[in-house]
């Protein structure tokens, strides 16, 4: 009896794993959560990647243009996947991309930028991950679109793809 029960449990568990893996093969690799109302970005103080000095958030988002905040880390593999797309977006004059370096080793992060290129107009250091929480981030990588009124109008969890890049280009037009 005990034996039958354990076989039953194993079968259920294996079927569960199968379904998960099967679904995993078919799921797209990105996810867009709903933004409930437009949220203002908070003011905060943060360490700058290049100068290592603290700067204020209103100094970061000072121009009257769209901003993209991209959370990344050198240890995050999907970040490497989306990096070329960020490079492509950075060529666009009407937006600025702010990088938020999440829980990273500084030298690794610098190395990452040197190796794959720098799409960011500014990189901020979020060594303990609190700033990302303030933004309401789900994980790394994650991308936020901030409009001219300094409100978060959209965010994308996971690596961005070509469709999202096209969508972003449409939004900022």
């Amino acid at each position: 009896m005990k034996n039958k029960f354990s076989i039953f449990v194993i079968i259920i568990f294996l079927s569960f794993c199968f379904v998960i893996f099967y679904e995993g093969l078919n799921t797209p690799k990105t996810y867009t959560p709903k933004v409930n109302g437009k949220k203002n970005i908070q003011t905060f103080k943060v360490k700058d990647f290049d100068s290592n000095n603290y700067i204020n958030s209103d100094k970061i988002f000072e121009d009257n243009i769209f901003y993209i905040v991209n959370i990344w880390a050198s240890w995050c593999v999907p970040c490497r996947v989306e990096h070329p797309l960020l490079m492509e977006l950075s060529k666009n004059q009407s937006i600025k991309i702010i990088g938020l370096n999440y829980k990273d080793n500084l030298s690794n992060a610098k190395n990452f930028i040197n190796k794959f290129g720098n799409p960011y107009s500014k990189i901020l250091i979020d060594s303990d991950g609190t700033l990302s929480i303030e933004f309401g981030a789900y994980g790394v990588p994650e991308t936020f679109i901030i409009d001219k009124k300094k409100k978060i109008i959209k965010n994308y969890v996971g690596p961005i793809n070509q469709e999202i890049v096209d969508e972003i280009k449409l939004i900022i037009k």
């Binding site: 893996f21 093969l25 995050c76 969890v157």
Partner: protein, 625 residues
């Protein structure tokens, strides 16, 4: 062109031989002869020949740069050196699966030759189970990943092999790794056969142990080669990144290591039968699971060659069929020997092996969860996460302490029932280890207590084994060498991570950079042309505090096909430390970005892994193959 045809039809013939072999085996199974029929051996040899012919013709297509073959077109180029043309054969999805098949058939053929003394029915069943796996892979190759797809019109030039794969260590890494990885299939097949024949016994343990050892040795060396490659080619200065692909090779390694120890218990005491069978099944399942995770594109990784969902679904179904088959057989046929179950005295060698088995299962669970949890989370809640090195380090490193202690004490215990002998000398060694550790690291790290305990435990293992090596002479030397290697590995990894230092700066030609321990001088650059790349070689002089100068020449390579820029680190290796210099181009600038690292005891990491596998090799020869 011709090679292409020959390769393709050899594959089909190989599949037919598989089917034939199954039929003949089933017929022979009920035959009254004591030995298996010669036909089976001949057919198995024929199958091996067909797969070898197929594999050779793919190699020939690569050597001739025959771009009418799609695989060659996608992964080769006329300007590539001959060596990399050949290694390109397995540097891609289709070719590497052909290598899978080759190893599968080699192993079953060797098994048939080497197992003449074993019961006939057991041998035939092993062959049958192995053929199930082989047929699965034949179908997989032919249906979804045919290496001999024909291209028309014939392209003039190929797309080229990814330059980071053009490397000597990486050229031999896949074959060696596969011998270990796929070699576990024979353990899987034979353990299932042994279960159905109620043959899981001391005798079986003795016979299967050498196959476990062979797989384990190849897997260990294969993983090390991949790690060496990552160290100097990826240019990050690390040797282990907890990348999903590294994890999927580590997981079968952990279960195989556990199995290696349990088999010794089985061989000596005839207990742990269920556990040995479960470990044998798990090891191969994890190998298959690794192939699925890496090849289906479900995870992003360096090794993901192709993202074809059809392939993913095929391996997934095949994987679960194998799991269902093996579990079904296990539950139907396996009977635990109840008598020997409660026969464990708390202080005995088998108990200590069992305890360390639990620890290994824990390490396995951590690595497994870290690797597949992101997939589960993604499917269930659409959340994307990336599990990084801190997760593994935090969960694994603390548990190394008791693991190492059991490893030091366990082998000193006797089988069945024991007491700790030479208590005083053990206590002495322990005190010496703690004091030595404290003096070495007291100024080095902030986390003094934790590291003192951890490193003391490692030194303890190291010294107890060193003592054994001198006292016991050649009794059980293989185990001592392996355990010495393991303690050395942990020591070098720990000191390497504590003592490494690095400097990152931008520098231009003729400039000097001073830092607290010396200066870096950028002398000049030179350009060089090779058949498949152009390179910029930079000359650096690095002077340390004592005025000793070394010259390092890192390189930037611009490969022509496909156009990819890679940084080749220059590494000066000494017994005590590696000096590692790598540079990158800074766009639109005369500056180069350089990264200079001093990594102590780096070479000891490789030496200790070699020592670890040398122990395995000694044990193998002691047993006479």
């Amino acid at each position: 062109m011709l090679a292409n045809q020959i390769g393709y039809y050899s594959l089909i013939l190989g599949l037919l031989v598989s089917v034939l072999l199954c039929g003949v085996s089933i017929k022979d199974f009920n035959n009254k002869n004591k030995q298996i029929s010669q036909n089976i051996l001949s057919l198995s040899f024929l199958q091996l020949v067909f797969v070898i012919v197929s594999f050779l013709s793919l190699i020939i297509s690569f050597i001739n740069s025959d771009f009418s073959n799609e695989t060659v077109f996608n992964n080769s180029h006329t300007t590539k050196p001959l060596f990399y043309k050949i290694s390109g054969t397995w540097g891609n999805h289709e070719g590497s699966l052909l290598l899978w098949l080759l190893v599968l058939t080699i192993f079953i053929f060797l098994f048939l030759i080497k197992s003449r003394k074993q019961p006939k029915k057991y041998r035939i069943l092993t062959l049958l189970f192995q053929q199930v796996i082989i047929i699965g892979f034949f179908l997989f190759v032919l249906m979804t990943s045919n290496p001999f797809n024909y291209l028309f019109p014939i392209p003039r030039e190929g797309l080229g092999l990814n330059p980071i794969l053009q490397d000597p260590a990486l050229a031999i890494h896949p074959p060696i790794l596969y011998l270990g990885y796929v070699g576990t299939s024979i353990i899987f097949s034979s353990s299932l056969a042994a279960v159905t024949q109620s043959y899981v016994s001391k005798q079986w343990g003795q016979h299967i142990q050498k196959w476990v050892l062979v797989s384990w040795i190849f897997l260990t060396i294969g993983i090390m080669l991949g790690s060496i490659w990552a160290y100097y080619e990826l240019g990050w200065g690390g040797f282990w990144f907890w990348d999903p692909v590294e994890n999927v090779s580590l997981m079968p390694w952990i279960t195989l290591t556990a199995l290696l120890h349990c088999i010794v218990v089985l061989e000596r005491r005839g207990v742990l039968t269920s556990w040995v069978v479960i470990l044998s099944i798990t090891t191969f399942t994890l190998s298959m699971c690794g192939t699925f995770l890496v090849r289906s594109g479900i995870l992003n990784s360096v090794h993901t060659f192709a993202n074809d969902p059809a392939r993913g679904i095929f391996i997934l179904i095949f994987l679960f069929v194998l799991i269902a088959l093996s579990l079904g057989i296990f539950f139907m046929f396996h009977k635990e020997n109840k008598k020997s179950l409660n026969n464990f005295f708390w202080l005995s060698r088998e108990t200590s092996i069992l305890i360390n088995n639990w620890f290994m299962m824990y390490f396995l669970a951590v690595v497994l969860i870290g690797t597949v949890y992101p997939i589960f989370l993604d499917v269930i809640s659409s959340e994307k996460i990336s599990v990084g090195p801190p997760f593994y380090q935090k969960l694994i490193v603390p548990f190394l302490i008791p693991f190492l202690l059991f490893m030091s004490l366990g082998p000193r215990l006797k089988w069945i029932k024991s007491k700790i002998e030479n208590r005083n000398s053990l206590i002495m060694i322990f005190i010496v280890s703690v004091m030595l550790t404290f003096f070495i690291i007291k100024n080095l790290t902030a986390d003094l207590l934790f590291y003192t305990v951890l490193i003391s435990a490692t030194f303890f293992l190291f010294f107890t084994n060193l003592k054994e090596l001198f006292i016991k002479k050649f009794n059980n030397i293989s185990q001592i060498v392996s355990h010495l290697g393991f303690s050395l590995l942990i020591l070098s990894i720990l000191f390497n991570s504590i003592l490494s230092s690095e400097i990152i700066t931008n520098i231009k030609i003729g400039e000097k950079y001073d830092y607290d321990k010396g200066e870096i001088f950028f002398k000049k650059t030179e350009e060089r042309k090779e058949s498949n790349f152009n390179s910029i070689i930079a000359f650096f002089e690095i002077k340390d505090k004592n005025g000793k100068t070394i010259e390092l020449k890192p390189e930037i390579r611009i490969y022509n096909q496909p156009v990819i820029i890679t940084s080749e680190a220059d590494i000066k290796t000494t017994l005590l430390e590696d000096k590692f210099l790598v540079m990158n181009l800074v766009k639109g600038n005369e500056y180069f970005n350089i990264r200079y690292q001093v990594k102590p005891f780096m070479v000891w990491i490789w030496i200790s892994v070699i020592l670890l596998s040398l122990g395995g090799l000694m044990s193998l020869f002691k047993r006479k193959i």
